[in-house]
Symmetry: C2
Subunit: 308 residues, 2 copies
């Protein structure tokens, strides 16, 4: 199976309001809840691509209970580890007038050392059956910044290919533990390397320890530095829609390509097409399967020459 | 005991953010939860004033569970009736930069006719031991607009003094059922009567069926039309602070005065002093007991001559 780790899983709540007016009171006309957190989103896409998928991480408190209830009927298997603290809610306020979203993210549960130790035991057990693992998103309070580095090392010890998608110090330390692939976006890549030139930046990120780096540049697609070369993968035309979840779809496609042993250009093309098909889907975080099939042959993948 | 009814009880959530910026993502630095809904607030103030108090209404879903857990250690007794739908959350986003609040109120549970019937049975049983009852706040979805009128009639049949604090059509119909007291604020009073002159408005509201009307005008205090005359009660000086809960404190003082058989000027003075002491308290919805004792003798109560 494919394993995704979401240490700071979330209950994603969407509030629809007629128009957002700061410093006033709004009647929310529509409340929606769905299981969230990057790794949970990646798992749903992997499952939709036909992979048996397991999600782990932490779940606790009232939002954790609702998260697990909403996850139960979905394809990914729930292997979340109970925690005393409360799973965070993210509240997205959608302004019906403008269509824009204002987001509030709670911090997540304070995880104790004993809970972290229990998670590591569960993670090691899950790795035995995993074909690949994706480590996704921010860390909840109480977990040390070297957490992803530790999870990368355990995956490598278990000989399970490991992808890391995080930010800041946890990403920096995680890369040094030599994951098979990292997927920063443009901002995360810039913060990590300080380099402004994209090719220099992905090569710089790779030199920090990742076997491969696939950086997402939104509508411009992916730029990847791999052991086989540097590639740019670009969608055939700009797509308009909701970019929520496009990065998570790219992670799912990259992890699937890693497991299937596809050549990098093929993996990158799939990741770019799946991202674009996610932007085109009416619901945030889902993808338009017909658009994916249509876009895939037209993604351009070109090799870039190293110039650093 | 004193009974308060909150048909649309809430879990009040406060998010603190450094600065609210519409259409961006915010990390919430601090999340607080407390039991909410007008009648729950009124009950807490009544209990703080030394009255044995019972809260009823509906509670359900994850927010209902948390609401009851948070209510358990507090003084008011929990007689909330279970409902299949989910108790609403209200989310108050406090902007640390400006101190201002942007509020999002979920609609509340859809209450079925069977659940409403179960509530009426519970309410009738509670009325047997009630010295007075306050009916507070908005109606959750599914409850007919004549609900408060029905609750007023049942209280009157049980010979329990009844106060109504609501808005719109539920208030309009509730008044026609002849409650002992209604406490609209200035906006609610204007919507109810269409009158712009305050004295005309409270007299107009009283003619609709209420035995007495005590309208709150924020920093200007209360204006009351009663069987014994029309009184204006004004705080000694404007107070600065957080007005959240000031109206609920006024309701608690009015209900207490009703039960204690105090003359109207004394009841109104207490309500105005308690409102001001609530504005002065550092935490929203609590009152400063020392300020209450200090302010009470200096509240001015003057009789107004009927001029309509």
């Amino acid at each position: 199976m494919m394993l995704t780790v979401t240490l700071n899983a979330a209950l994603d709540v969407t509030y629809r309001v007629p128009a957002l007016a700061p410093h006033t009171t709004h009647r929310v006309s529509d409340v929606r809840e769905r299981p969230g957190g990057k790794g949970v989103n990646v798992a749903r896409v992997l499952a939709a691509l036909g992979h048996e998928t397991v999600v782990t991480g932490f779940a606790g408190g009232p939002a954790g209970t609702v998260l697990r209830e909403l996850l139960a009927p979905l394809a990914p298997h729930d292997a979340l580890v109970p925690v005393d603290g409360a799973t965070r809610r993210t509240v997205a306020v959608v302004d019906a007038a403008s269509g824009s979203t204002t987001q509030f993210n709670e911090p997540g549960p304070a995880v104790s050392p004993a809970e972290w130790a229990r998670f590591l035991d569960a993670y090691d057990a899950l790795l035995r059956d995993a074909r690949a693992v994706a480590l996704c998103g921010s860390l909840p309070p109480g977990i040390h910044v070297g957490a992803y580095a530790e999870l990368v090392r355990r995956a490598r010890a278990a000989e399970v290919p490991v992808l890391l998608d995080s930010d800041g110090e946890p990403l920096r330390r995680g890369i040094a533990a030599r994951p098979d692939l990292v997927k920063p976006n443009a901002d995360e890549l810039a913060r990590l390397t300080g380099a402004r030139d994209p090719v220099r930046a992905v090569l710089g990120a790779r030199r920090r320890g990742a076997r491969a780096v696939a950086a997402s540049f939104g509508p411009d697609g992916l730029l990847a530095a791999t052991p086989d070369g540097v590639w740019q993968a670009t969608p055939p035309a700009p797509v308009r829609g909701n970019p929520t979840g496009a990065g998570d779809s790219a992670v799912a496609a990259l992890l699937a390509g890693l497991v299937e042993g596809l050549p990098w250009p093929e993996t990158l093309a799939r990741a770019v097409a799946l991202s674009a098909a996610t932007v085109l889907a009416p619901a945030a975080g889902e993808f338009d399967a017909a658009a994916y099939e249509r876009l895939l042959p037209d993604v351009s993948v070109t090799e870039r020459t190293e110039h650093s």
